[in-house]
């Protein structure tokens, strides 16, 4: 902070007030406020304690030697009859002062070393960096002992020793920070403008790394305090007649059997003061979004955060069903592979439960390929996870009926369906880069399915895995099986993922955006592979995609989802020209093709998808719909069947808005089939 007030570089000015606001916000959090208060108390004590209690602390009273706690001496007296409590309070100044002095030395030295690469140029900079990297590997205490020998035993020596020992860590920190700043555009601009290295450092780099440096210095001061106590405890720091907490602790420990409190009191003081610095620093760091030395850890990615939910759909699930035996009844001709009725998924929200999936019903026949399309957030993926029973708590799945191969997935414990789902229900996830365990070989990840569910031996399961990899056209399958996921390309991984689903004998593959993360030529290959697998074993497919064109090519039927509901269920060959729901038409119209007029803006669906937390009472699409009437905003249309299996949920199904330019109203020449 001090650095940022010294220089008025334009890049800093807006940051300063923002920084102040963030620091104030930290003080309003419980931890920040508590730690801040504690720190303030310690600092005030360091200032006033010697003024108030020095006399008491130094008064020798041979008639009251080594006394226990009493009204007069709260924590008793030491070997010379001096009041221990007063001594602990008075020692605050020296303990804190020395810790701060050592920290300042560490920060200044660290800053010099850390910024050296910016000033010295390439070769000298690398040498400094290498030196810092080596020094940083040694624990601070060891470095402090080394320097304590060099600088000599005593207070000054210890301050220097701890300061020098702390420098490498700060050097590493400022190096990292400075390197980050030095790559930013405004620094590059300054360099091109001919601003010298030193000036760039002063005006641009230092002010911008001031804040994280101060935060880490606060935490570092806590460490220096503990280190100083340690050195003094070893007799290498403060020497009699001066005393800090470490010294008092050493004196107290020798008499711990007679007078334990005298050892404990300075110990408590050290811990409390150390924690005050530490917690305050951590709280600020957290508040302003910094990572400190131990505060690392990965921010969960979008995809994984989306899945911060749990399986276990039992509670609240409608279980009025008669409940067939939970074992695998096997495929039966005529019976659908999957039957879903009134499926909903509910999450607790800030303002009551949120239902991103609301009453979805559909069935998939044997060998049938069904596509699910819709914008992001329409509930496609969640529907897939719900039928696979992979929704985690706090998400809750309810349904009137959820039958897979005749088995009721809503009744009975997960365990009962494990084998059925593990062998007959295959899942292919969107991102092949993150969907394999990075620490295990691909072959083993496939093989464990057969080991677990088909009772195969390790060797037989691996042989099966190799065979399955071969079947999904992974070249050199045997060698590949021994490789780790990072040795596979994206397309190869997605093949392996499909192969994993084929370890059993699946009757249904649920593929959730299987090609979204892949480039176009690889997409084609993966889709062809899915088609081939289907054709070979009569496997049903539920293909989720936001890509209308892909679904149109691969599937026989298409479910169109909007705001957690199925709004249209139509034959895939009708998707391009025959769609009855205005949303379906708009989706189709938004797909550009080779004939599209590039001088015109691409058609988009106006408005934004509905926030699942704020579902309107009527049709969720009404606010964006060109056909919307009063009825649409009041009443939600049901998903009605036309008798031939074509279902639409719209009050104006099939109508065309005559007087407006509705996307998709006029038949758009879409090259769905011809695209590839």
């Amino acid at each position: 902070m001090t650095t940022s007030t010294t220089f008025d570089a334009p890049a800093v000015a807006p940051r300063r007030s923002a920084a102040r606001a963030r620091w104030l916000a930290v003080l309003r959090t419980p931890v920040g406020a508590g730690a801040g208060l504690l720190l303030a108390l310690v600092l005030v004590l360091a200032l006033v304690a010697p003024l108030l209690w020095s006399g008491q602390a130094d008064r020798i009273d041979t008639s009251a030697v080594l006394q226990g706690a009493s009204a007069e001496h709260w924590v008793g007296t030491d070997a010379l009859g001096r009041d221990v409590f007063a001594r602990v309070l008075v020692a605050t100044r020296l303990s804190i002062g020395l810790a701060l002095a050592a920290t300042s030395i560490a920060v200044v030295l660290g800053l010099l070393l850390g910024c050296a690469p910016l000033l010295l140029g390439r070769r000298g900079g690398r040498l400094v960096t290498a030196g810092v990297n080596i020094a940083v590997a040694f624990p601070g205490l060891l470095l402090a002992l080394f320097f304590a020998v060099v600088f000599g035993v005593g207070m000054t020596g210890a301050v220097l020793a701890i300061g020098f020992a702390g420098a490498p860590a700060f050097a590493r920190l400022s190096q990292t920070l400075a390197a980050g700043i030095a790559e930013r555009d405004f620094v590059a601009a300054a360099r091109i403008a001919g601003v010298g290295r030193f000036r760039v450092l002063l005006r641009h780099v230092l002010p911008n790394i001031g804040e994280p440096l101060v935060v880490n210095a606060t935490i570092g001061a806590g460490g220096a305090l503990l280190a100083f106590a340690g050195l003094s405890f070893l007799g290498l720091g403060v020497q009699a007649p001066s005393y800090d907490w470490g010294r008092l602790l050493q004196d107290g420990l020798s008499g711990i059997y007679i007078h334990p409190v005298a050892a404990l009191a300075p110990g408590v003081a050290i811990v409390v003061a150390g924690l005050a610095f530490n917690l305050f620093g951590e709280a600020v760091a957290k508040g302003i979004g910094l990572t400190t030395a131990l505060g690392g850890g990965f921010a969960p990615g979008r995809a994984s955060r989306r899945e911060a939910t749990r399986r276990d759909a039992r509670r609240g699930a409608a279980t009025e069903d008669q409940g067939l035996p939970v074992t695998d009844p096997g495929p039966e001709p005529g019976r659908p592979v999957l039957e879903v009725q009134d499926l909903s998924v509910t999450f607790p929200g800030a303002h009551g439960p949120v239902r991103p999936v609301r009453g979805v019903s559909f069935r998939i026949g044997r060998g049938e390929a069904v596509g699910v399309v819709g914008e992001s957030g329409s509930g496609k993926s969640l529907t897939a996870l719900a039928i696979a029973r992979l929704v985690e708590q706090p998400g809750e799945v309810t349904a009137g009926r959820l039958h897979f191969q005749g088995a009721d997935l809503l009744t009975g414990p997960d365990r009962a369906h494990r084998r059925l789902l593990g062998t007959s229900f295959a899942m292919v996830f969107q991102d092949p880069m993150t969907s394999f365990n990075p620490t295990r070989r691909i072959g083993r990840q496939l093989a464990e399915v057969a080991q677990e569910h088909q009772g195969m031996s390790r060797g037989a399961a691996l042989a099966r895995a190799v065979d399955r990899l071969r079947s999904v056209r992974v070249p050199a399958a045997e060698r590949r099986a021994h490789q780790y996921p990072h040795e596979f390309s994206g397309g190869m991984r997605q093949r392996a993922m499909i192969g994993m689903g084929l370890m059993g004998e699946p009757s249904l593959i649920v593929a959730d955006e299987p090609t979204t993360a892949l480039d176009v030529t690889v997409q084609r290959q993966v889709l062809d592979l899915l088609a081939a697998v289907r054709a070979e074993d009569d496997v049903a497919l539920l293909l989720i995609s936001h890509d209308v064109a892909v679904v149109g090519q691969v599937c026989e039927r298409v479910l169109v989802m909007y705001a957690g509901r199925v709004v249209e269920d139509l034959p895939a060959d009708q998707l391009r020209t025959g769609a009855r729901h205005p949303y379906t038409r708009a989706l189709v119209a938004a797909v550009p093709d080779m004939d599209v007029d590039l001088d015109q803006p691409l058609p988009v669906i106006p408005g934004r998808p509905v926030d699942p937390a704020h579902q309107p009472p009527g049709c969720a699409y009404a606010p964006r719909c060109p056909l919307a009437s009063a009825r649409c905003t009041d009443e939600d249309p049901a998903l009605d069947d036309d008798g031939a299996g074509w279902r639409v949920a719209c009050w104006h199904a099939g109508e065309v808005a005559a007087d407006r330019d509705v996307p998709g109203a006029a038949p758009v020449a879409l090259a769905l089939g011809e695209r590839a």
């Binding site: 602790l249 059997y257 850890g297």
Partner: protein
């Protein structure tokens, strides 16, 4: 990620069955070995220079102002301190390879003998503490991770985090004093000083292990929670494996990589922590010897012990890197 994946087909033909001997692993070994050699050299040079950086005459200050000048001169002579610096350096390096670390200024014993006597006690202490810390931290962290995944049991999470932060912030020597008070003074269950039967190990090992264990368990929990949200864990669940297997075989190794990285730092700190803990418990190891030797200005002994501690730290770091590379092969390749 993509670039390594694409790069492989080219070198792929030679890879079969010899995963440990091929390109990335050789590069890893060379790079890591080079690092070790350079660090070792810096350590050796620094400890050689230590004695020369001390202001004034180290022998005079060790023997005290009253010692006769002839004795000081004789001792300087026997230490070779009057030779040119470079000659001394060469002698020092040569001595290292033959196990000759000079002799103590006070006891006249060879430094190597002092170290040989004291090292086992310190090694036992550090290794036991390391094992205890792991044995406490990993299961506890995994369990807490599983229990608090996806924001569950916030109360339990808060209690766990608070306890582990506080416990981790107490330096080992203060923990030692607290344990001495409770188990030695208050209850009288355990011996508080010296190295004797198994019961004498309990308190020193605990005071060394509890802090790192708390910090490790905390990291372990955070990592476990984040791994449990990973895409590949959903894949594992989609394979319908038993939960315990998912946690132990899919989640744990991935959570361990980050834990070991940070745990390595804690373990080197644990090695250094023996210095303080040995002084609390009057443990006859290197740590109590180095502290008393610094006070006695017995520089050759200090020099020797600094070397041993430094080498111990480098060894821990090396072990950590190798274990990491084995657990997560990407970490070996990433830096090359």
């Amino acid at each position: 990620m993509t670039s390594t994946a694409e790069a492989h087909p080219a070198t792929g033909a030679s890879r079969r069955g010899t995963a440990v001997l091929d390109g990335p692993w050789v590069r890893f070994a060379v790079r890591r070995g080079g690092q070790l050699v350079v660090s070792m050299w810096v350590l050796v040079t620094a400890s050689f220079l230590m004695i020369h950086l001390i202001p004034g005459d180290p022998v005079r200050s060790a023997l005290g102002p009253t010692a006769p000048a002839s004795l000081v001169a004789a001792r300087r002579e026997s230490l070779g301190l009057d030779d040119p610096l470079l000659v001394q350096y060469v002698h020092f390096l040569g001595g290292l390879f033959t196990g000759d670390l000079g002799e103590s200024l006070t006891s006249r014993l060879p430094v190597s003998q002092v170290i040989a006597q004291r090292l086992p006690a310190t090694l036992q202490l550090a290794l036991l503490a390391f094992l205890v810390a792991l044995a406490l931290a990993v299961p506890l962290g995994v369990l807490m991770g599983v229990l608090t995944r996806g924001g569950r049991r916030r109360g339990g999470e808060l209690a766990f985090s608070t306890t582990s932060v506080v416990l981790g912030a107490i330096p080992e020597f203060l923990l030692g004093v607290g344990l001495v008070y409770l188990f030695g003074v208050q209850w009288g269950w355990l011996p508080v000083a010296g190295r004797g039967g198994p019961e004498s190990y309990v308190l020193p090992v605990l005071s060394l292990a509890l802090g790192p264990a708390a910090a490790l368990a905390r990291i372990m929990r955070v990592e476990m929670v984040s791994v449990l949200q990973a895409d590949f864990l959903r894949t594992a669940r989609a394979k319908r494996l038993p939960r315990r297997r998912i946690y132990l075989r899919d989640a744990l190794p991935n959570a361990l990589t980050a834990t070991i990285t940070l745990g390595g730092l804690l373990l080197t700190a644990l090695v250094a922590g023996t210095v303080l803990v040995e002084n609390v418990f009057a443990w006859p190891g290197l740590g109590s010897t180095i502290a008393s030797s610094i006070l006695l200005k017995d520089y050759p002994v200090v020099q020797g012990i600094v070397l041993v501690y430094g080498a111990g730290v480098l060894l821990v770091n090396l072990t950590v890197d190798v274990v990491l590379a084995l657990l997560d092969p990407r970490s070996a390749i990433r830096e090359s």
